[in-house]
């Protein structure tokens, strides 16, 4: 295929050996669309003519490599490598499915536990707060009759604030 590109195939000035040598390789490959200027330059320039002749010599170098080398059938090795590639892929589906199933069960189980825990939390909001919140605990204990024994410091504070009646001694 010949390429007509101004960027790669500019005209060659009569004395422009550098330009001629840049294009000579494509020329000997038959890839220049407008080879006349280069042809004219090479015809009139002995050094460029010698350069083109040497480029053509390089083309002849590769004839030995164009011929196929010794006929070696690599298919058995390729088939073995391909089988090795497929074997793990084929046997790997069971563990993969098991992992996915385990993850699904875990996810669903975690969701159920979270839901149950959430329900209990709502039901026991009051008692939980009453038992754990520092200011509410004495009130609760007071009502339960345990405050006298277990919450004396807090009771003193609450008495001072007028939140509970003063204890009779």
């Amino acid at each position: 295929m010949k390429h007509d590109s101004n960027s790669t195939n500019p005209s060659v000035a009569e004395n422009d050996c550098e330009q001629a040598r840049a294009l000579a390789s494509a020329w000997i490959d038959g890839e220049l669309a407008h080879a006349e200027p280069l042809h004219a330059h090479v015809a009139s320039c002995a050094p460029c003519r010698a350069h083109v002749a040497r480029l053509r010599e390089t083309q002849t170098l590769f004839a030995p490599l164009r011929a196929d080398g010794p006929d070696v059938d690599l298919w058995p090795q390729i088939a073995a490598r391909t089988r090795a590639l497929r074997a793990p892929a084929a046997s790997a589906w069971k563990p993969r499915v098991a992992r996915i199933a385990a993850a699904f069960v875990g996810f669903v189980g975690a969701g159920l536990l979270l839901r149950a825990s959430s329900s209990r939390t709502v039901d026991s909001d009051v008692s939980h707060d009453q038992l754990t919140t520092s200011w509410a605990a004495p009130l609760h204990l007071e009502r339960s009759g345990l405050g006298r024994l277990q919450a004396a410091p807090e009771r003193q504070l609450l008495t001072a604030l007028g939140l509970v009646p003063e204890e009779r001694r």
């Binding site: 494509a26 490959d29 040497r54 480029l55 490598r81």
Partner: protein, 191 residues
């Protein structure tokens, strides 16, 4: 022998029989390209790896390029990747126990380029080029691709193909000159 669309469809579906057909059609070309780019020692292993990759990636073939272009591209990329890996490991591509590739290139001929008709010698000479030049020259001179096809395989503009080929041939001429100088020096310095 051609690789038909029906076989390509089977290959894309993961049919190993279609991969064998693909190997029968393209195997020699892929092996020849691997040998030119990597040298004879690694060519067979690289060829096997290329076809395993073809099998793995056939689904990715979009059909925009010719299938042969796609396989060439896969082969070139794989070989360049191997060369880069060897370079990082400090190994010299195409090297063997007979000295540096430069020394071997200088010793392949005493009579310039015309005398070279030996496959091994040409491979050693090819090994003197950098991977970009070697790839472009191989696709052109050994695989017979035109500039448009080379540009498609390498995914570069045609102008880049032109300059790489020009530099590659220029380098071959320099190597031939060095060989001539080496031969002359050898004749002068040897009593």
């Amino acid at each position: 022998m051609d690789f038909h669309d029906s076989e390509l469809a089977r290959l894309r579906a993961g049919d190993v029989g279609a991969l064998e057909s693909c190997y029968r059609v393209f195997g020699r070309r892929v092996r020849r390209l691997c040998r030119s780019l990597l040298g004879p020692n690694d060519a067979d292993d690289a060829t096997q790896e290329v076809f395993v990759r073809v099998f793995e990636r056939a689904r990715q073939f979009s059909g925009r390029a010719r299938f042969s272009t796609w396989i060439y591209r896969l082969t070139v990329n794989h070989c360049l990747h191997r060369l880069e890996r060897e370079r990082r490991r400090g190994a010299e591509p195409l090297s063997d126990e007979n000295g540096s590739s430069w020394e071997r290139a200088l010793s392949w001929t005493d009579d310039a380029l015309r005398a070279v008709d030996d496959r091994d010698a040409v491979e050693k000479l090819l090994g003197e080029l950098n991977p970009e030049q070697r790839t472009a020259l191989t696709l052109r001179e050994i695989e017979g691709l035109d500039y448009r096809e080379i540009a498609d395989v390498l995914d570069v503009p045609i102008g880049t193909v032109m300059s790489r080929l020009n530099r590659a041939r220029q380098r071959l001429i320099e190597l031939a000159d060095a060989s001539r100088a080496h031969a002359s020096w050898h004749r002068i310095s040897t009593p």
